[in-house]
């Protein structure tokens, strides 16, 4: 398992995956990228074994593996 790092500068880093702040904001309801800063509202970031995910503000779960595949094609 790997740590999940969140930053307004690089976005989300997990394993060898990097999702930019703008990509996060575009794909996760409840994450905005405003004036160069990531803003979280009503979201949950979970780093559980084999089910790393972000729950958006609507309650929908986004597995990080699915996010990476959808956004980065990995």
């Amino acid at each position: 398992m790997a740590e999940i790092h969140l930053s307004s500068d690089f976005g989300l880093q997990w394993n060898n995956v990097t999702i930019t702040p703008q990509e996060l904001a575009d794909n996760i309801l409840g994450i905005d990228f405003i004036n160069g800063l990531l803003v979280f509202d009503g979201v949950k970031v979970v780093n559980a074994l084999d089910r790393e995910y972000i729950t958006d503000s609507r309650g929908d779960r986004h597995m990080l593996t699915d996010l990476a595949e959808r956004i980065l094609g990995k």
């Binding site: 999940i4 307004s8 990531l38 803003v39 509202d41 009503g42 979970v46 780093n47 559980a48």
Partner: protein, 157 residues
């Protein structure tokens, strides 16, 4: 400690000068009302009172227990025995809120609103074995990283 010449150490009856010197030394070395005494350590049996005030005091009522009482109302309590590593902000006899170094925050009666900063301004890593919560919207400041480790979660409500 004051320098005192005793008859025994003097080997003879003290002279008037020696007697006077003893009293002078004692007088010079004593603490009296209004002074600011210094002690390396001081041990209290129970309470340290604000002068002239019977209901404002610092209390040590039991081992590993310290309380600050202001105007008869307990304002602060640290009790290692019943709640390790915790600080209780009190509103009377019972606790108002408990802050714990283990990352726990609890509240008791009377408090209906919890406030929190809107931005995370320093690097933050969720403590191992714990989950974290922020009151959103929460902004991650530039140059700052939030880390969610294995088996942990960060929830922004």
């Amino acid at each position: 400690m004051s320098t005192i010449v005793t008859r025994s150490s003097n080997g003879a009856a003290l002279t008037h000068t020696q007697m006077d010197a003893n009293f002078t030394n004692l007088n010079n070395d004593k603490y009296q009302s209004g002074n600011s005494p210094y002690f390396a350590n001081m041990y209290l049996g129970a309470y340290l009172y604000h002068n002239g005030d019977t209901n404002t005091y610092l209390g040590f009522t039991a081992a590993d227990d310290a309380r600050l009482v202001v105007g008869g109302r307990q304002a602060l309590r640290m009790d290692e025995g019943s709640d390790p590593d915790s600080l209780q902000l009190c509103s009377g006899a019972s606790g108002g809120a408990t802050l714990s170094t283990t990352g726990r925050f609890s509240q008791h009666g009377g408090i209906t609103v919890v406030e929190q900063w809107q931005s995370i301004n320093t690097n933050y890593t969720v403590t191992n074995g714990l989950n974290a919560m922020s009151i959103g919207p929460t902004t991650i400041s530039s140059g700052v990283t939030v880390t969610v480790g294995d088996g942990e979660a960060w929830t922004v409500v």
